[in-house]
């Protein structure tokens, strides 16, 4: 595939008009599904992602249960209609790998020891893809986990940095991903800057790598605020005080 115009023009503007350190527009909505314990819908550029969380619930099969802590299981799946050529449905090498790295990322933040013998199941459905779906999926799933009331050290945020025409570009779009020279998706715990996911495709020089990592982490902190806003908007009007119920429940029994 050859592109008629270069990925960066003379003013270092990208083909979709973004600056090199500019993110695509991101919108997140928490709690969109009724049946799941927690859920989130995310639009990131042309990416559309739905994430649902179930649990903690009894882990199946039983021999996979851990008597000391919960399992965090994730399934990343691309819808058949998410890409322009129909994607053959079902797990493939790529989605099995992404599922694995995302579950490992969440395993780091979830307080698993609070729920022994259970599993927390995260489902990520890519409805429409435009480069960076693993970052988008992970970012959406973090909001869904919080919406499900799962105790966590922090939300997890993810963002990629790429290289096109020898220049580092934040959050590569479709053409930049396909024709660029490198791609570095990173997921971090924003508060501590712990890296919980990092994969690299292509070649960076050591300096470029360090700079790309920094760009990704800084962008993650911006997205982190969008995640928190999504949760705050959903639960905005909670004002009344919580009440102590134990006594009332006991009097209920006596009345009966």
């Amino acid at each position: 595939m050859e592109l008629e115009k270069p990925l960066l023009d003379e003013n270092k503007r990208r083909i979709d008009g973004r600056a090199v350190d500019e993110l695509r527009p991101i919108r997140i909505e928490a709690g969109v599904l009724k049946r799941a314990d927690g859920s989130a819908y995310l639009e990131w550029g042309e990416n559309k992602v739905l994430a649902a969380v179930y649990g903690p619930r009894e882990a199946h099969p039983r021999h996979r249960q851990d008597p000391a802590k919960a399992l965090v299981q994730c399934r990343y799946n691309m819808a058949a209609f998410s890409v322009s050529d129909r994607k053959r449905p079902g797990p493939d090498r790529r989605s099995v790998e992404i599922s694995k790295v995302i579950s490992d990322a969440f395993s780091f933040v979830v307080f698993k020891e609070q729920f022994p013998r259970t599993s927390v199941d995260v489902f990520i459905e890519i409805l429409q893809a435009e480069a960076g779906t693993r970052c988008a999926g992970l970012t959406a799933a973090a909001v869904a986990l919080a919406d499900a009331g799962i105790p966590m050290r922090d939300l997890v945020v993810s963002c990629a940095t790429g290289k096109a025409d020898g220049e580092l570009i934040l959050d590569p779009g479709k053409e930049e991903d396909n024709l660029g020279q490198a791609d570095l998706p990173v997921a971090v715990v924003p508060r501590t800057e712990d890296i919980v996911l990092m994969q690299m495709d292509g070649h960076f020089t050591p300096e470029e790598f360090r700079k790309a990592l920094r760009m990704s982490i800084d962008a993650c902190k911006v997205i982190y605020e969008i995640q928190k806003d999504a949760l705050r908007t959903k639960y905005a009007v909670t004002t009344e005080e919580p009440v102590e119920v134990q006594e009332t429940i006991d009097t209920q029994i006596k009345e009966e």
Partner: protein, 229 residues
């Protein structure tokens, strides 16, 4: 009961809780001498601890909780109950008010029966034990069960049981709210429907201020003001 402070603040996981002199309580964790929120919820302070009251999540049994459970399996000396939590909960024959012969469990409680029970103990690996030996605990027959999120149980009960007695007063239904979010209602069919409607309203509008008043006016529209006690 210690009065809770009035400050209401919504927190999300990872939020720093500015709490000079307070200890980390439920739903929080400390790292490097600072306290952070571990889950989505409302920040509260009481008795020197900072706690997060969760806004969602699954029901995790605690000792002393009164819950409504459904029997899913029977053993020769125990029943296994489903109590809307991630953990199956056995009820041993020693913990029922009857003298049950070994292997004779099905004569007393059968699969699909629904019981009002208490959580006797929960150990560190979250193994649950139930009891039916306390006064008032029994098999529930007749009526209907509605399920809500366990985090909204306090709203359905209201301050000092104001909400639940309001609904009971209007509908003349017998009701019981379990801490696992299951509510048992028994009465006339129309009254049950109205009570369920009121509960659904509470669940949908759990965050709204002055909820007791709006539920009262909703029930007044149906029954007229005369039924207020």
């Amino acid at each position: 009961m210690v009065e809770e402070t009035v400050k209401r603040e919504l927190v999300v996981p990872g939020d720093l809780l500015d709490a000079p002199g307070l200890k980390p309580g439920v739903g929080t964790f400390s790292e490097g001498g600072k306290i952070y929120a571990a889950m989505l919820g409302i920040r509260t302070e009481r008795a020197g601890y900072i706690n997060i009251v969760p806004l969602g999540g699954r029901y995790i049994p605690r000792p002393g909780d009164a819950v409504i459970g459904k029997i899913v399996d029977i053993g020769p000396s125990h029943w296994l109950l489903e109590i809307n939590s991630p953990y199956p909960a056995p009820l041993h024959t020693n913990e029922v008010p009857w003298r049950v012969e070994y292997g004779d469990t099905a004569r007393y409680l059968d699969v699909e029966d629904v019981c009002l029970i208490k959580v006797l103990s929960v150990d560190e690996t979250k193994r649950v034990q139930l009891t039916m030996k306390e006064h008032g605990l029994r098999k529930l027959s007749g009526g209907q069960i509605v399920e809500i999120s366990h985090s909204k149980v306090p709203r359905v009960i209201g301050k000092k049981g104001s909400m639940i007695s309001l609904i009971k007063g209007f509908t003349k239904c017998r009701m019981f709210v379990g801490q696992n979010g299951r509510i048992w209602i028994d009465g006339e069919v129309d009254d049950i429907i109205n009570a369920i409607q009121a509960i659904k309203k509470i669940e949908d509008e759990a965050q709204v201020l002055g909820l007791t008043e709006s539920v009262a006016s909703m029930l007044e529209e149906i029954y007229g003001p005369s039924r207020v006690e």
